[in-house]
Amino acid sequence: MTSAISAAVTTRGARLDRPQSYWTLAARRFLRHRVAVAGLAVLAAIAAMAVLAGVLAPHNPTAIDATAFRAAPSAVHPLGTDSVGRDVLSRLVYASRVSLSVGLLAVTMYVVIGTAVGAAAAYHGGTVDLVLSRLMDIVLSFPPLIIILFAVSVFGRPSLWNVILVLGLLGWPPVARLVRGQVLALRQQEFVHAARAMGAGDVRLILRHLLPNAMAPVLVAATFGTANAILIEAALSFLGLGVQPPTPSWGNMLTDAQSLTVLEQMPWLWVPPGFMILLSVLVINFVGDGLRDALDPSLKL
């Protein structure tokens, strides 16, 4: 991915005779950020777990072991069983699919919307900018949890797709603001004037010249957004309004932990999903930090 982009950039800037592209430099800076690299490795492991869930999970995640409700960890159930006798490890492994897909899909959706709206607002300016900016303000003031509760009642049923849809449709204004700011600044640069003088149309100007140069902060925002989406999904599923049972999610696995007795005496019911939420959010934030440092244009090597 990085090499493809850098290849494109290199081709475009070949005549400037730059030895190394911006993206190659960024990659080098990122690799020097040890915590970020470690975070990326753990994230890759979680992603692999999600993809290979069918192979890794020792049991069917919805199968009930009638002889073992809330059984402590054992050879058969390495992380014990939950309140209706299902294998906690298997559910944990399958649940990573939910968390990662919510994070990735919701964020992809709002990055696309945010980029389009932000670019349009900044490029056209005037009334278009005014209307789109106020729209951002309005959407930004919606409380996402309340909207999701509302959406659930309107759509009639809570589901993974509702959560993704609502997060995707509500999350874009910060991205749009970032893109708008970047494009506003870039619009005045000489290379943009040059491109226009050479006859580039609006679409070509935005897609080829403005957006690629505005993407760095968006990438960073998207990374942090992914962590946030994972947290919101966990909260919703904990409330019973996210992923529907028996599909496991780290959030709905935590619903077992609603009494002092469970908290104190049955840690296998809540420590594993809690730890996975913590771990995934933490490593994504590390990666985000690394990206931010690596892509910061003021740090040139």
Partner: protein, 537 residues
């Protein structure tokens, strides 16, 4: 001046320090007791508070005519405001005599006029009330307990403390004693007599009910925190031993910790202040607490949407009853604190038919029945589950696995309770989980009689069931009634309007320092808090 001011401030501060101490501190005093329930009441109207929480608080301040209690599967009656009661040979005329010393908290006597005022208020079409069922059988009332225009009302005052009611038809006396005697609280005519019935629901008295007739007097309600009561020294059945009583609002998850810390003496029990099943073993192990589980009439059931053609074959419904591992729900989810029965009449009820056994857990039999009924094994049923009751939510996961094992595909849909109920009323479901709790009388017409309020949940109409329910409600002879309801339970198990999943026992806790707090049926105590005593510990 400034010294006096300072003294006043110091006193006020000291008082402010003392006050919360009596509430949140350890109730070690033998004069103070704390009871706990999960949610706050929204008002204290004895005829219209919105929930069992409100009625729990009301019952400390307001009395009913009688106390009823199940003893060895028989309904027993005890005096409360009424000291004597009798029924004439026609099973239609009931006479009550009020206790000579029964009085209001302001010193005025409780009279037959107060009872008449209560009946007339409840039955006024303009009054908002949920006590209609307490008067609906009196002559001159319609089925919802409202006065039919111009009809003669079957209520007669015989003396200052004596009155009689007349029912429209002969009925089982226990039915009248439970609904009219036990379920209805008496209102003070001298306080509320001048209020227009349509203004009553908003009257400030129901936020500040200072004139009651029960063993405790209202002091104050700290919103969402506690209701404070003080003993009624002139209570006609004896002054309470507890001088100050708090009903605190305690979330379910913290009830156990409060018991451990001795901050709580008595849980409200029955669905409004029970011990979480997760905490049950631990509460049983607290040395200074007695954990009490007792049979309760509340049960969970799986409703079928009878508008779906594919659920109308009773073999399909029986197949599902066979498919669900109900013994597992009781032994594992409820940790044994539950009972099974194939119908809406609980096992500890006098009318329970022991001959009707629940359909056994048998996946092979379930599959065979489905095949016999021509079930489409590719069809996916929507199982609607309300959030809130965590045990019910967990049971849904077991039910789904069980049904899948029998060949019925199931997709779970969870929603908040109001949304859930709306979907059920709109017939927008295949199968759905709901809970129910009734009284001692076996009349379950409100659930199963065609056209009644709650049949619209399951969209069912069954002539045979209608006939039996009508016959049962109109029969006064108890032996004959028993036959009718035995038959009803047989028909129910055969037709399966719904599958009763389990009867959950009520799990309550009482500090060992308390005595004479007895648990009974109906979700409430054997409610005689004037007899509660607390020892120093």
């Amino acid at each position: 001046m400034s010294t006096r001011l300072r003294a006043v401030i110091a006193l006020a501060l000291a008082a402010a320090l003392l006050l919360p101490a009596t509430v949140a501190g350890q109730p070690r005093s033998s004069l103070v007791a704390v009871s706990g329930m999960w949610s706050p009441p929204n008002n204290f109207s004895p005829i219209n508070t919105d929930s069992a929480y409100g009625y729990y608080a009301v019952r400390f301040m307001f009395g009913s005519l009688l106390e009823s209690r199940l003893e060895n599967n028989q309904l027993k009656l005890y005096p409360m405001l009424a000291s004597r009661w009798s029924v004439a040979a026609d099973n239609q005329t009931y006479r009550f005599t009020l206790h000579p010393r029964a009085s209001w908290h302001d010193g005025r006597p409780v009279t037959a006029e107060d009872v008449e005022f209560t009946v007339m208020t409840i039955s006024d079409p303009r009054t908002q009330t949920n006590r209609g069922a307490s008067v609906a059988f009196i002559a001159g009332m319609d089925a919802t307990g409202k006065r039919a225009g111009g009809a003669q009302i079957g209520f007669r005052i015989l003396g200052p403390k004596e009155f009689e009611i007349r029912t429209a038809k002969p009925v089982d006396p226990n039915f009248v004693f439970e609904r009219f005697g036990y379920d209805m609280y008496i209102l003070p005519k001298h306080v509320l007599g001048g209020v227009a019935p349509d203004q009553l629901a908003r009257h400030p008295f129901f936020q500040n009910p200072t004139v009651g007739n029960g063993p405790f007097k209202f002091v104050q309600y700290k919103t969402d925190q506690y209701v404070e009561f003080v003993a009624n020294e002139s209570y006609h059945l004896g002054a309470p031993n507890i001088r100050r009583l708090f009903v605190r609002i305690i979330p379910p998850t913290t009830m156990m910790a409060q018991l451990e810390r001795r901050d709580l003496d008595v849980t409200a029990g029955g669905g409004i202040g029970s011990i979480l099943i997760d905490d049950w073993d631990r509460v049983k192990a607290i040395p200074h607490v007695q954990a009490v589980s007792y049979s309760a009439p509340g049960y969970q059931f799986m409703a079928f949407n009878f508008q779906r053609a594919y659920l109308q074959d009773k073999r399909v419904r029986r197949a599902m009853a066979h498919a669900i591992n109900r013994p597992l729900l009781v032994s594992q989810l409820l940790k044994g604190e539950g009972e099974l029965a194939e119908g809406p009449i609980p096992p500890n009820n006098p009318y329970f038919n022991r001959a009707v056994r629940p359909w056994a857990f048998d996946t092979a039999r379930a599959r065979a029945l489905l095949q016999e009924a021509g079930w489409d094994f590719t069809r996916t049923l929507i199982l609607r589950v309300p959030t809130g009751n965590i045990l019910r939510e967990r049971s849904a996961d077991v039910i789904r696995e069980n049904l899948i094992a029998a060949g019925v595909r199931v997709e779970i849909q969870k929603s908040d309770f109001p949304t859930h109920l709306a979907a059920l009323y709109a017939a927008n479901y295949d199968i759905g989980l709901v809970g129910w709790s009734g009284g001692v009388d076996p009349d379950v017409s409100s659930q199963f009689r065609t056209g009644a309020t709650y049949t619209r949940l399951i969209h069912m109409s069954n002539q045979q069931i209608d006939q039996l329910l009508d016959e049962g409600a109109a029969t006064a002879d108890q032996a004959r009634r028993r036959q009718i309801y035995n038959r009803f339970q047989e028909v129910f198990a055969d037709e399966l309007p719904y599958v009763v999943l389990y009867y959950e026992k009520s799990r309550a806790a009482v500090a060992r320092r308390m005595s004479d707090v007895n648990y009974g049926v109906q979700g409430f105590y054997w409610f005689q808090p004037f007899a509660w005593t607390a020892a120093l510990q």
